[in-house]
């Protein structure tokens, strides 16, 4: 009897010790909250490390949103600043001059500036969220919506849109040699255009619009980071050119995706402004390479542009050059 009581007491104390000192554990949601706390303190690498601890199969929309935040964190992008000093005085009527004039646009001082590359990575994370193929060539926003549901998908793409605006502003300021007011060719560099144009259709397109003579026709010069091997189009130059293509296309596609039919605000006007340039692109490029005017995929763009300068010249001649000039 005494032995039985001793054993019962022993068992009871073991149970008590167990419930009193269960080892600490933290679920996936707790890890995401921890990562968000790291991002609150600006500890980008810690946040990435925590998020990478969540298995592929358990990654929900919030994981991708937080991971995109953590990736953008290594640059200087922050949404609150972006709204206050970035797009506070959005000028849709002259969007092409406005984007490179955003204060954060001057942060890109080299083609691989972390302020810029961190945004590219974050945008890719949000855009390709849940997409399992190694290539994102076949990816569409409709598929994104199917995976995450319409509402969550819009929130994720809107988050990507902010980053795209910031990244496109940097791209245009750097490669378009914009000055503080956004004016193309007015910056500290020597180029007046994005590319050196040799394609006659592109040159004709540049000359047609607008009434002001284009500096890119006859004597204009492209940015040195986009021109060295542009004739053969491969490697780094192709990658950089396609970054611009996908950023421009993404801004158009993202705003169209986010805007609903009853929206009549500035966002819908941004979409209308970009639509003009996309239509011009399709007209200049023609049906055979029309995909370049809508692709959101870096891989697909590089595939189209590989050893083929013509389509990319026509793309830039119909989008970036007139858009940045204020048309």
């Amino acid at each position: 009897m005494g032995f039985k009581r001793t054993r019962q007491l022993k068992n009871l104390s073991l149970v008590f010790l167990f419930v009193a000192s269960c080892s600490e554990g933290i679920g996936d949601r707790g890890k995401i909250i921890s990562a968000q706390e790291e991002l609150t303190g600006g500890n980008c690498e810690n946040a990435v490390r925590i998020l990478e601890g969540i298995a592929d199969g358990s990654r929900e929309a919030r994981w991708y949103q937080t991971m995109a935040s953590a990736e953008a964190c290594s640059g200087s992008f922050q949404e609150p600043n972006f709204f206050t000093s970035g797009i506070k005085d959005l000028n849709v009527a002259n969007l092409g001059r406005f984007l490179p004039a955003i204060s954060s646009s001057s942060n890109m001082t080299a083609q691989d500036d972390v302020d810029y590359t961190s945004l590219l990575q974050a945008i890719r994370t949000l855009k390709n969220a849940g997409h399992t193929d190694s290539s994102d060539a076949g990816f569409t926003l409709d598929r994104h919506s199917e995976i995450w549901g319409a509402q969550k998908s819009v929130d994720m793409i809107l988050q990507a849109t902010y980053m795209t605006v910031a990244a496109l502003g940097m791209y245009m300021r750097y490669y378009g040699n914009g000055d503080a007011t956004g004016a193309k060719g007015g910056g500290s560099g020597s180029n007046t255009c994005y590319l050196d144009y040799t394609d006659t259709v592109s040159l004709a397109g540049l000359a047609v619009t607008p009434s002001v003579a284009s500096p890119c026709v006859g004597g204009g010069s492209g940015h040195s980071d986009l021109t060295p091997d542009f004739g053969t189009l491969s490697g780094e130059t192709l990658r950089r050119a396609c970054e611009g293509v996908t950023l421009f296309n993404m801004l158009f596609a993202f705003t169209a995706f986010v805007v609903t039919p009853d929206d009549s605000g500035e966002l819908s006007r941004v979409d209308e402004t970009l639509q003009v340039r996309i239509d011009a692109c399709k007209a200049l490029v023609g049906t055979t390479a029309e995909a370049i005017c809508s692709t959101l995929s870096q891989d697909q763009c590089e595939s189209i542009g590989q050893n083929n300068a013509t389509d990319l010249e026509r793309y830039f001649a119909s989008t970036f050059e007139p858009f940045h000039r204020g048309n």
Binding site: T66, A72, F83
Partner: protein, 402 residues
């Protein structure tokens, strides 16, 4: 300081740090998504009146906590012989006086706003970035409870209305608001039985107790991207006033029945009393069944608590108590987070409290000036890596026992 969620102008005039919001413009929300500024202000003020998380939504949430208990490091399982008995251990009902009534016992808690004053001193609260910078990582918390209670013999009946609200904004790159709002109404009926011994005589005594409770719960639990279309749509869709905003944010209603069990053992000799207790509150979780809304509805989780205390009446002018609790048992948290230590010293009309839990201190003072009793104190809690202070207060009127 009371946060009553009055209209923006009024609240702003009383809380200087918020006054800038009268002219705040949220550029994106206003001109990109066409959200009316007034609804944004309403929403942000509402969230400001919600209150802290971090441990946030993963923190263990008791149905109700006594302010005096919090001042003692929440080591109160064997000491809750007042109106809060049925929220700590139903076996304490066996130790009732012949009869007692607590018509208006109120408890409140609020994050220590003055501790965070520096955040706002250098911020231009007219600028969104400055305001978000100021509030990011700031655990905002507000709780209030009213627990009218009647005791008669071994029976205790408490009705309750308890609100527990939390807000924290995290992530400077893409700010995300973690919202937790819970408002419970209901009642609990407890019965305590003493199979041997007596509260009044010396020697050992053992009490067993059980209670049945009904909870009607309103809840909003979600994470929102602050600069998102979902959030903008939520707060702009015909939201008017606090109720409108709560509905827009996904207010969910539910109700459920639960049960509590407890045991309390005491040994009394001379002026000293040793007490040990164990309670299982909301046995197997009190399931809250949603009947309106589609948002998350939290069940009331089972809380297993072990409590102990030693009390001594020094003379007719002074007494003291030291207590040690372990709770919530069974949760996957560190042992030091479960260990609660409290101390109380009483002299006529005044009680002093100090406590310690998880590297956090607490302290307070209570005055018993019949027909009023009030207590104020401060307790610290860990939020992520940060230790934050909260204010807590208790007020009751016409507490009477026979």
């Amino acid at each position: 300081m009371r946060c009553n969620c009055s209209p923006p102008g009024n609240l702003g005039s009383r809380l200087p740090i918020l006054s800038g919001w009268r002219t705040v413009t949220l550029p994106l929300l206003q001109f990109l998504l066409e959200v009316r500024a007034v609804t944004v202000r309403w929403a942000l003020l509402f969230f400001f009146c919600l209150g802290s998380a971090s441990a946030g939504n993963s923190e263990f949430r008791y149905l109700h906590r006594s302010s005096k208990g919090l001042m003692m490091g929440d080591a109160y399982t064997t000491l809750a012989l007042d109106s809060s008995a049925l929220f700590y251990n139903p076996a304490l009902a066996a130790r009732n006086d012949l009869a007692a009534i607590y018509p208006l016992p109120m408890d409140m808690g609020l994050f220590h706003l003055l501790d965070e004053k520096d955040r706002f001193d250098n911020a231009d609260t007219n600028e969104v970035s400055d305001f978000v910078d100021a509030i990011i990582g700031l655990p905002i918390h507000f709780r209030a409870g009213l627990v009218p209670t009647i005791k008669f013999g071994g029976f205790t009946f408490s009705s309750f209305a308890v609100a527990d609200t939390h807000l924290i904004v995290r992530d400077r790159i893409h700010p995300v608001g973690d919202f937790y709002y819970r408002y419970d109404r209901g009642f609990a009926l407890g019965f305590g039985w003493m199979p041997f011994g007596s509260s009044r005589s010396g020697g050992p005594s053992l009490a067993l107790g059980a209670s049945l409770k009904y909870i009607h719960r309103d809840a909003i639990i979600n994470q929102y991207d602050i600069f998102s279309k979902t959030f903008a749509d939520l707060i702009s869709s015909d939201s008017r006033g606090l109720d409108g905003i709560k509905n827009s944010l996904g207010l969910t209603k539910g109700k459920g029945w639960g049960a509590d069990l407890g045991v309390d053992w005491r040994y009394k000799w001379g002026p000293s009393t040793l007490a040990l207790g164990f309670s299982a509150m909301d046995v197997l979780d009190t399931k809250i069944k949603t009947y309106r809304g589609s948002g998350p509805m939290p069940d009331q989780p089972m809380a297993l608590s072990f409590g102990s205390s030693f009390s001594q009446v020094l003379n007719s002018l002074a007494d003291w108590t030291v207590s040690f609790d372990l709770h919530p048992l069974g949760e996957r948290i560190k042992l030091k987070e479960k260990a609660h230590l409290g101390f109380q010293m009483g002299i006529p009309l005044v009680d002093f409290f100090v406590g310690y839990n998880n590297d956090c201190r607490s302290y307070g003072v209570a005055f018993d000036l019949f027909p009023f009793e009030f207590a104020v104190g401060v307790y610290e809690r860990m939020f992520g890596r940060d230790k934050k202070r909260s204010l807590t207060a208790h007020f009751s009127l016409f507490d009477t026992s026979f």
